[in-house]
């Protein structure tokens, strides 16, 4: 059993604020479970500190790069300190949304039609031509998002095509590659997956109903702005189909310990894969903790069990 856990939270990604909230909540849950916890903001002293102190396990609550892109996880492998969550290679696949979609799609999970465009493509081929092609190819609303990142930062739902250039600029301001996706209308759900050593288990689906209609940053982190239904208000058959889609994506991407898969269930009951989150939000308003509690789990117990699994797998 882990006796000395180092929770990492903060960092310098755009999601620092969210990460600090997640990290504090993970640390509190572990403390309440009787685990010795240190909470640390990763900086230039971190690697030296890890070599000197050698915690039993690192619990990365770092959203965004370098917590989710595999960089820190790879370095932890070098140092030989176990950590909770996916391995570096799997994290890299899932963190990049277009890659995640490709992998999930090849595994048989449906995912909305999309195109991925680095900024340089617009420089080289001209914006007008590309935007015209996009307008011709896709019908209905689009979702424009940075290819990497979380918390809906830089994400815009474009219903009026004249707003597409602004949406592109907003997304490129976060990241140099942008994913433009056909918007699927339906029930927005998220499925948390937990694996503490006995294989991945899908938690009850959480249905998301933002007051504004869009699960934006504001809808995510202001309590009251989104109504959650656990379990989601879908039939048992659809819930099972969605859970299988989430488990398939989780496994195809090679994710480990925990993830959250975001899906839209369309009118015909088909779940569409949007993305898989290497480190789901773990804040007071986040989905995964709600799903865990709805399934009757104690957060501290689960977070501790994941830490134990990480240690066991490192031996």
């Amino acid at each position: 059993m882990a006796t000395k856990v180092l929770v990492l939270a903060g960092g310098i990604s755009h999601e620092r604020d969210v990460s600090l909230r997640s990290g504090r909540r993970v640390a509190d849950s572990l403390l309440a479970h009787g685990i010795q916890v240190e909470l640390r903001d990763p900086d230039a002293t971190l690697l030296h500190y890890l070599r000197e102190t050698r915690p039993d396990v690192v619990w990365p609550a770092l959203h965004g790069a370098s917590g989710e892109d595999g960089a820190l996880r790879g370095l932890l492998d070098f140092i030989g300190i176990p950590y909770v969550g996916s391995r570096a290679d799997a994290a890299r696949l899932a963190w990049d949304k277009p890659t995640g979609k490709t992998v999930a799609g090849r595994a048989g999970v449906r995912t909305p039609a999309s195109i991925t465009l680095p900024r340089d493509a617009f420089r080289e081929l001209g914006a007008n031509g590309i935007l015209e092609e996009i307008s011709d190819e896709f019908s209905g609303p689009l979702v424009v998002k940075p290819a990497q990142g979380g918390s809906a930062q830089g994400v815009t739902i474009v219903e009026d095509r004249s707003l597409l250039p602004r949406a592109m600029v907003d997304a490129y301001t976060y990241w140099d590659v942008v994913l433009i996706e056909q918007r699927i209308t339906g029930t927005e759900i998220a499925i948390g997956i937990i694996d503490s050593g006995d294989g991945p288990v899908a938690l009850p689906a959480v249905e998301i109903e933002p007051r504004s209609g869009v699960y934006s940053f504001e809808a995510r982190y202001n309590a009251g702005e989104t109504r959650f239904y656990v379990p989601a208000r879908v039939s048992d058959e659809i819930a099972e189909r969605a859970a299988q889609a989430a488990l398939t994506a989780h496994s195809a991407l090679g994710l480990r310990h925990l993830s959250r898969v975001d899906l839209i269930v369309d009118g015909a009951g088909t779940p569409w894969f949007l993305e898989a989150n290497v480190l789901p939000g773990l804040t007071e308003t986040s989905i995964l903790p709600q799903a865990l509690e709805a399934a009757g789990h104690d957060l501290g117990w689960v977070y501790s069990a994941l830490a134990d699994a990480a240690i066991a797998e490192s031996r």
């Binding site: 602004r166 976060y174 504004s212 934006s216 504001e218």
Partner: protein, 434 residues
């Protein structure tokens, strides 16, 4: 959990309407990165308190505890400690203000005085006139009391009297009730400009004629670099001006001590409102500041601060000249801030994620307007980072601006693009960001 689901806040429908803007926002969350040492933060307005010798404060604390410990740790007067108010008269005299010790109400920073004044005067829908741009957290206070904030333009000489005249006429024609004019006339936050003496007189005359109270907020007046600014507006108008002062910039903000100097009737109400809100301002902080002002060379210390900030102002202006010569900006002769105008098609709020990626932070111009103006403006603070850091910050900012311009040109956008993000929350950086 019920079949109705949960919104994670069972009191969601119970909050007062005035809290509508008190929400987490994507932009505000980005400021969290500014607290990291890798980031050059030109966003917050944190005074450089390291220029204050620690022993000056620790000696004052030691003497207070030795000579007046039980009193300093007790509740105090709702109006504030008389001995401190005596010292405040000396401080204000430096800006030409003559007043009586009973005219002063000590508050928890001048921010609290601002809140009390708004509470005393503003009903929902009342009009508050303010410079455009105006101090971000004043706007937050006004909005929280559901004021209708009307901005009056400034130029390099401060608030434009003719624009004020026209705004007053327009509001009156609409049937609006103007409760006061809020102004930071000296080294304006965020614009960095200073209202000329002639304009001060003209504006006071106009407000007197129109029956409009002036709320003069003067946190930076003593921090001049190139010679003293014009005297405070309160120095020539006693009945029509409420003056707000603070020790946050001339000593340290951690004490949270400021004051209001008000005509008798308003002062009486301020004392009662102060007591209703906090019982009494911090006795401990007041004792320490009174002791410091009695025994330390506080005028010399202010001069030290002037030297520190002058060097940083110079570093910022030089770096702007070197790295962003095509832009325009104000040239402050005191205070903390430079106000930069970006090309018309840039949106400083949308650009902030790119800045964070480049490890530099600024405050988007829209934070300083109640009406969504200021998209192509940014406020840069030179008070906290060292001159070298300021230069590096401006270099990074030039990369950000050039990158954003190139992105916009890729999409052939020479006109401002429409906003896609909702404008519900306040976008100012938290107060503790350097």
């Amino acid at each position: 959990m019920t079949s109705q689901g949960t919104n994670l806040d069972q009191w969601y429908g119970h909050y007062a309407e005035r809290t509508a803007g008190l929400a987490a926002s994507e932009v505000r969350a980005l400021f969290a990165v500014a607290s990291r040492p890798e980031v050059v933060s030109l966003a917050g307005g944190m005074p450089y308190v390291s220029a204050l010798p620690k022993e000056l404060v620790s000696n004052a604390i030691e003497r207070v505890m030795r000579d007046a410990g039980p009193v300093a740790m007790q509740y105090g007067s709702g109006q504030g400690m008389p001995a401190l108010r005596e010292h405040i008269l000396d401080v204000m005299a430096l800006e030409g203000i003559r007043a009586g010790v009973d005219d002063i109400v000590v508050t928890t920073g001048s921010q609290h005085a601002l809140e009390l004044m708004t509470k005393l005067f503003v009903d929902p829908g009342d009009v508050v006139l303010a410079e455009g741009p105006s101090y971000v957290t004043a706007i937050t206070v006004f909005k929280s009391f559901q004021a209708d904030v009307r901005h009056v333009p400034m130029d390099e000489f401060g608030l434009i009297p003719q624009a004020l005249r026209e705004t007053i006429a327009r509001v009156k024609a609409e049937g609006g009730r103007i409760k006061f004019l809020y102004t930071v006339p000296t080294f304006n936050n965020p614009a960095g400009v200073t209202l000329t003496w002639q304009r001060r007189l003209e504006i006071l005359e106009l407000c007197r004629a129109e029956g409009i109270l002036v709320l003069e907020d003067n946190p930076y007046g003593l921090l001049y670099f190139d010679g003293p600014p014009p005297h405070a507006m309160r120095s020539v108008e006693e009945e029509g001006v409420v003056y707000l002062g603070t020790f946050s910039k001339t000593l340290a903000p951690g004490f949270r001590v400021g004051w209001a100097l008000a005509p008798h009737a308003i002062r009486e109400k301020l004392v009662l409102a102060n007591e209703a809100a906090i019982l009494s301002p911090s006795s401990f902080s007041q004792h320490i500041i009174a002791e410091y002002l009695s025994t330390a060379d506080w005028r010399g210390q202010i001069d030290t601060f002037r030297g520190v900030y002058r060097e940083r102002r110079d570093a910022m202006l030089t770096a702007l000249d070197d790295y962003l010569p095509d832009l325009s900006w104000t040239h402050p002769t005191g205070g903390f801030y430079v106000w930069v105008t970006l090309p018309d098609n840039l949106d400083s709020k949308s650009m902030l994620p790119r800045a964070v990626k480049e490890l530099v932070a600024y405050t988007p111009g829209t934070a300083f307007y109640a009406d969504g103006s200021g998209r192509n403006r940014i406020r840069l603070s030179f008070c906290y980072p060292t001159p070298d850091f300021i230069r590096e910050g401006i270099r990074r900012l030039s990369t950000v601006i050039n990158g954003e311009l190139e992105l916009l040109s890729t999409f052939s956008q020479t006109e401002p693009l429409p906003m896609l993000r909702p404008e519900r929350s306040y976008h100012n950086p938290p107060a503790n960001l350097g």
